[in-house]
């Protein structure tokens, strides 16, 4: 079974022992009534009926396993993530759109869902490269493509990334000052990569979690923006919106299914479905069209990501994984020292995916930050923290070598093209979008005021921050030390 997850996730779900007696860790509440004997009969339709001694029949409830339950348990026969991942795919999007169409035709318009698709800039760069379009053209044509299928709005997660970057910056400075009294304030570790988060929760548990930034990823902030801010503006409750994101990796599907991003009140997720860049490619193939052939749609609103002063797309400094180090360092220097940095000097260490930046601060110790992409570099960071030999104040950790532009869900190289050649071109496409400082994007300041009541309010903390949970390894036949 092909595993498309990042290396970090793949290594945490390995098992070649098959123990049929292995209990699934899912805490399904089975009402065990001691002493009673019953038979189970399987009906023609596949449902299970419990037949008691008295002849009384009762339909048994199907045990439901969600993606999240399987993340916690390493005991099942199959790699559960791979199996359940099919719940989130372009098929689901098609189902929702078809249902909308049916409701439209049945004149039950009120039951229709408002369908929103938020595209990540890395996915856009991958598609733009494949179809030989500029990012701007790709955006317009993707908007046109989705709208033609029945999607109502198309947004860009570059916009929500502004919030993720700003919050990360503020959080860092706060933790920097706290570090005199709080041992786990620094180093701060970036939190936008779910491959890293799942690995940290499963393998290092409560040890490493305090160091991870509480700031949500751009995907999840977009989830909050769409289901709370945008929903209100549209006069809809969150459950009436179906929010799809287009992401460069499969790990993002796991992020969207986290319990922390599920609203009990409305019974809805902030992000309902994540499809990868490759899955969008499949959709285009299904519709028998290349992106270049699609008629562009220039409709936009503030969430569409047009951050550039000339009204075009905007991006952020610091590379294809969001630029967290770049922004945190610049902000920290400006806040702690009151000066600004022209450009950061990155020094490559052991390999291209491990780089560090040092900025001298007059009167204080220098600020040191690092980029650590890929499992081997994550290992070294975690081990250094464990042994108390960490010298960095902030680390931008990403599970994929070369970062998000090289995610497992991106479009694959063509015949005769190497991975590296394609990666270079996708990077070029990504970098061709002009960079704008997060606080200068149109709409960012307004939304902080209008939606959150300002910076650092209780609502801001609820909407823009999250928490992590260490996964306890359940004692089972598999874990017994022989």
């Amino acid at each position: 079974m092909a595993s498309n997850f990042s290396g970090a996730l793949q290594l945490t779900d390995l098992n070649d022992f098959i123990t049929p007696s292995q209990e699934c860790v899912k805490p399904v509440k089975i009402d065990r009534k001691p002493g009673k004997v019953a038979k189970i009969r399987i009906e023609d339709d596949g449902s299970y009926m419990e037949v008691a001694e008295s002849g009384e029949e009762k339909k048994l409830q199907k045990a439901q396993i969600t993606l999240n339950d399987c993340l916690a348990c390493s005991g099942c026969i199959t790699s559960a993530e791979s199996v359940l991942i099919t719940q989130q795919s372009q098929e689901e999007l098609y189902n929702v759109l078809q249902e909308n169409l049916r409701l439209q035709q049945a004149s039950e318009v009120n039951k229709k869902k408002l369908v929103v698709v938020s595209i990540s800039p890395q996915s856009r760069a991958s598609l733009a490269t494949k179809y030989q379009l500029s990012p701007q053209e790709a955006h317009h044509k993707l908007t046109g493509f989705f709208k033609k299928l029945g999607v109502n709005h198309v947004f860009d997660t570059s916009f929500s990334r502004n919030f993720s970057l700003l919050e990360s910056c503020r959080e860092f400075v706060r933790r920097y000052y706290e570090s005199e009294t709080n041992k786990t304030a620094l180093p701060m570790l970036a939190s936008s990569c779910p491959g890293w988060i799942c690995y940290a929760e499963k393998t290092h548990g409560s040890y490493i979690l305090p160091y991870i930034s509480s700031t949500k990823s751009p995907q999840q902030i977009m989830g909050s923006l769409v289901k709370d801010y945008f929903a209100a503006k549209q006069g809809q409750t969150p459950d009436r919106i179906y929010h799809v994101t287009v992401m460069p990796c499969y790990d993002k599907k796991l992020e969207a299914s986290r319990q922390d991003f599920y609203s009990d009140l409305y019974g809805t997720r902030d992000v309902d479905c994540v499809i990868t860049t490759g899955e969008v490619e499949k959709m285009l193939e299904k519709e028998n069209v290349t992106l270049g052939q699609v008629e562009g749609n220039t409709a936009y609103c503030v969430l569409s990501g047009f951050g550039s002063p000339d009204g075009g797309l905007g991006s952020h400094l610091g590379g294809g994984s969001g630029g967290y180090l770049e922004h945190v360092m610049r902000y920290a220097v400006s806040q702690i020292h009151g000066s600004s940095v022209d450009s950061l000097q990155y020094k490559t260490l052991r390999n291209q995916d491990f780089q560090e930046v040092t900025v001298e601060i007059e009167g204080k110790r220098p600020l040191k930050m690092a980029l650590a992409y890929g499992f081997r570099n994550i290992q070294n960071i975690v081990q250094k923290i464990k042994r108390g030999k960490m010298t960095y104040d902030f680390v931008e950790i990403m599970a994929c070598p070369s970062g998000c532009v090289n995610g497992g869900g991106q479009i694959r190289p063509m015949e005769g093209q190497t991975n590296n050649e394609l990666l270079q071109r996708v990077k070029e496409s990504y970098d061709s979008v002009p960079c704008v400082q997060p606080d200068l994007w149109p709409g960012v300041k307004d939304i902080y005021e209008e939606w959150l009541g300002g910076v650092d309010t209780e609502k801001a903390r609820a909407m823009l921050h999250t928490q992590y949970h260490g996964v306890e390894k359940v004692a089972s036949a598999l874990n017994i030390q022989w």
Partner: protein, 300 residues
């Protein structure tokens, strides 16, 4: 028993010189001396690999390499002493670098095998790594640009490959398997006179000899002497066997013959055998029966 014992020869006898206990929480599956002899690495089922430093006859645990998801099966030092390789049931092979200040950092995590990796060993002279697995293959790894990748996969065994050993030249490998055979693999460099196809700058490796019918059970260990070219095998049928390449042997189709068999070498499975690197003909064997035995192979 989670203990490492260091044995040394005093006069005519072999004496247990040191006992390294409390280093690991579970079975220690493999140990290896560094090329300089001042360090010992121990790989354990507790998922860690410890590095012990020898100072004036005393051993001290100076580092614990963590990261593998489950049981570590083997550890091997590169000839330079600056790299180590570990492999595990988690299907991955890890490469570690020794830094200037004696720190051990992860240089690469290679997930090429599809099953439990039983053993990993460095090439005697080049910076190349070989590993073998429950997935029936042997894989070779090299550093390319920024990371380590698999440059060759050797397929022929029909069951778990337990162990591999390079010959002195490093152009041949002997492998032993659960399929009860030993196989000899020959390296063919690009532009080889035999006309074997190679890809780019990579060598090709072909299985040039299979020794079958000699062993009655799974072969757990094999070692190719770098001093006299003898191959010794450890088998689940309690026997130790020694093989030699015949005088008249074609490089591309070599013939090996059984020199001698030690029946009932142990009272249970023979798990490991190794030639003494300095004394040709001297070999050690270990078994499920708890004994370590030293043997002298006398050739006519």
């Amino acid at each position: 028993d989670k203990i490492i014992r260091i044995w040394g020869k005093e006069g005519d006898k072999w004496v247990c010189k040191s006992i390294l206990a409390e280093g690991h929480q579970r079975t220690i599956r493999s140990v290896g001396w560094s090329p300089c002899g001042n360090y010992l690495a121990s790989a354990s089922f507790d998922a860690t690999t410890n590095i012990w430093s020898r100072k004036e006859g005393e051993f001290e645990c100076i580092a614990s390499l963590e990261g593998h998801e489950n049981e570590v099966k083997a550890v091997s030092w590169a000839p330079t002493g600056l790299l180590l390789a570990t492999c595990s049931r988690d299907k991955s092979v890890w490469i570690w670098e020794v830094t200037e200040d004696e720190e051990y950092e992860c240089a690469s995590v290679i997930s090429s095998h599809t099953q439990d990796v039983k053993y990993a060993v460095w090439h005697p002279t080049r910076e190349m790594l070989a590993s073998c697995s429950y997935d029936n293959t042997i894989k070779l790894f090299k550093e390319e640009i920024d990371d380590w990748t698999c440059c060759n996969t050797l397929e022929s065994h029909t069951s778990t490959v337990w162990k591999i050993s390079f010959d002195q030249t490093g152009h041949r490998i002997v492998s032993c398997s659960d399929d009860k055979t030993l196989k000899i693999w020959q390296e063919y460099l690009p532009g080889n006179p035999e006309g074997i196809d190679t890809i780019g700058k990579e060598s090709a490796w072909k299985c040039v000899c299979t020794l079958s019918g000699y062993h009655n059970r799974v072969i757990y260990d094999v070692d190719w002497s770098h001093s006299n070219g003898l191959i010794v095998s450890a088998c689940g049928d309690e026997c130790i066997r020694v093989f030699r390449e015949e005088e008249i042997s074609d490089k591309n189709q070599p013939s090996f013959s059984l020199v001698c068999t030690q029946n009932r070498a142990h009272s249970q499975d023979v798990n490991s055998v190794a030639w003494n690197p300095k004394e040709p003909g001297l070999l050690a064997s270990g078994s499920d029966d708890g004994d370590v035995k030293l043997w002298e192979v006398v050739l006519d």
